[in-house]
Amino acid sequence: MKSAATRVIGVGQPAAGDDGAGIAVVRALREGYWLPSGVEIHETTDPGQLIDLLDGIRRAIVVDALVSDERPGTIRCLAPDQLSRYPRAPFSCHGMGVAEAIGLARALAADGAGIDIRIVGVTIKPPAGYSCALSSSVAAALPLAASLILELLAGENTGTCA
């Protein structure tokens, strides 16, 4: 039985500077915004946890940092199939990337009613070391990411903005 809940899931490692952007976005959402009923906020440092978090629900928004050549702080909204544009980690038991975890969750959901997943990505430069702080350009982009998630939750943005 699918839960009616929509989950907004922040993924990242807050100790690796801008890699924690996804976590920072969901924390900002939880603390500073009114959320529609039935919306659960989750955060995880382990993409593998997405398999459980994406199980048994109809809709999810995954928020993560994206490494690309674009300007840091650029916000992207992607469908799962568009993740292939970005570098992927190899599938191994030492770790599963966000794309692999989402792929597995979708495959497992395919025998049921399926699951609608959107990925909100905050563009970052590759993390250079340990830091619990976000760079100014990424920190400045948090409100924009939060607004986009609120639009998606309200059904005001049903497409992909990539």
């Binding site: 190899p90 191994s92 038991c93 030492h94 692999e100 597995l104």
Partner: protein, 428 residues
């Protein structure tokens, strides 16, 4: 004429390495499992650290088998201090180890190895057709993880283990709460053994020397003598006299061999071959129904051995919890004695040896760690050398598939041994 088949990455293994198979005509001229994972220097950074830190520092060598590192480290430190952990604390260690075996084996069987047998490039594609199997595997793995988080404080790199015992022991109710899911998992494990027994296993056998711990009564986890299928039977303190590690130019991981004899194999297949009569009755019966006889010399059937060990670990976990009586104290005190201690335990991938020289202040003066993957490296190369003749006649994609499957039989953890494997098949 030179023919080179090149594959950029062998996935579903741990760590960074590469595999090259070179053919001259139809003859295999070279097989090299090249490991270029940078050396990690754990043995060096342990020097000067307090003995109590060894379990948590070495646990960081691996995110899949941290408990194995903690157990070998604890046993070695306790050996140096002349202390033996018994009773409920010993049982709790076995239970924690059960959790790791269940978790590590399920991840390898369902997510990394089963796609080879069922004809899928990865678990994601396999899940589209076999969602039930993957869901079952993930739930069984979670049952193992929950044991680890209940006893160890968290699933990965537990924080509750110390030489002499634990920082905190669980209340009876905390352990009993695990029983309903473990009871489900035991049925799921029986179903899994039957499912895996129906896989098609490539015909392949070699005259291996299997090496594992053997305990007078139990299927081995933390204690026993090191025995082999070719007559080795030694106390763990004699490890250095029987085994040696060799440097090879193409690998940053050392190759371990039995002195005067060469390559050997440790891990699930070795354990089950050498300890079949120590398995719990439900496991022996399942093995019989699955047509799994010992000695089994076909490494492709290691996935079946792994599934039987999952059943063993789940059944033992249920038994330990059923008879659990909390210990009087969470840990034994360790006297400060300058000494060298050995610890050898059965990590999911095979025997894991730790040796520490500890001074009178409880500081580590010297450390040595021999992980299972470095012990199996030479055998992986020899398997590939043996199978290479078949690869030579195969189309590229099929050859790569079989070569990768051959490596994955060992569930190699290159990160432990010293991420990513590149496979080159060169034909000339």
């Amino acid at each position: 004429m030179t023919r080179t088949i090149r594959v950029d990455c062998l996935t579903r293994v741990e760590g960074e390495g590469a595999l090259t198979i070179r053919f001259t005509g139809d003859r295999v001229s070279e097989v090299r499992l090249r490991i270029f994972e940078p050396p990690r220097f754990f043995e060096g950074l342990l020097r000067g650290r307090a003995r109590e830190e060894a379990p948590d520092i070495t646990a960081r060598i691996c995110g899949i088998c941290p408990v194995a590192y903690q157990m070998s480290a604890c046993h070695a430190i306790e050996d140096a201090a002349g202390v033996r952990v018994t009773g409920a604390l010993r049982a709790l260690r076995r239970l924690l180890y059960c959790g790791e075996w269940i978790s590590s084996h399920c991840l390898h069987m369902f997510m990394l190895h089963a796609p080879d047998f069922l004809g899928y490039p990865d678990a994601i594609s396999m899940a589209q057709d076999h969602a039930g199997l993957v869901r079952r595997g993930l739930r069984m793995k979670q049952a193992g993880n929950t044991i680890m988080s209940t006893i160890g404080g968290r699933e990965i790199h537990p924080v509750n283990v110390k030489p002499g015992g634990f920082y905190r022991t669980p209340a009876t109710g905390e352990l009993r709460a695990l029983l309903p899911e473990l009871t489900w998992a035991r049925d799921a494990a029986l179903e899994t053994v039957a499912d895996i027994a129906r896989f098609e296993f490539p015909e392949f056998e070699r005259d291996y020397e299997f090496v594992a711990l053997r305990h007078p009564q139990e299927y081995p986890f933390c204690e026993g003598r090191i025995v082999s299928s070719k007559g080795l039977d030694i106390d763990i303190h004699d490890f250095d006299s029987a085994f040696q590690e060799e440097q090879v130019a193409h690998s940053t991981a050392l190759h371990a061999v039995i002195r005067g004899r060469g390559a050997y194999v440790c891990g699930p297949l070795a354990r089950i071959n050498l300890n079949f009569n120590r398995l719990r009755p439900v496991v022996r019966e399942a093995a019989e129904r699955a047509g799994f006889g010992v000695p089994c010399r076909n490494p492709f059937r290691s996935i079946l051995a792994r599934s039987l060990e999952v059943l063993q670990a789940i059944d033992e976990a249920i038994a330990i919890i059923g008879s659990w009586t909390p210990p009087v104290q969470a840990a034994l005190e360790l006297p400060h004695t300058p000494a060298t201690g050995y610890g050898c335990t059965e990590a999911p991938r095979g025997i894991l040896m730790h040796r520490y020289e500890v001074d009178g202040d409880g500081l580590i003066r010297d450390a040595r760690i021999v992980p299972p993957t470095s012990q199996n490296q030479k055998s992986i190369e020899l398997d590939l050398l043996r199978i290479a003749g078949r690869l030579a006649g195969m189309p590229h994609e099929q050859a790569v598939w079989l070569a990768e499957q051959t490596v994955r039989n060992y569930d190699p953890c290159i990160s432990c041994a010293t991420h990513f494997l590149k496979l080159d098949i060169e034909r000339g």
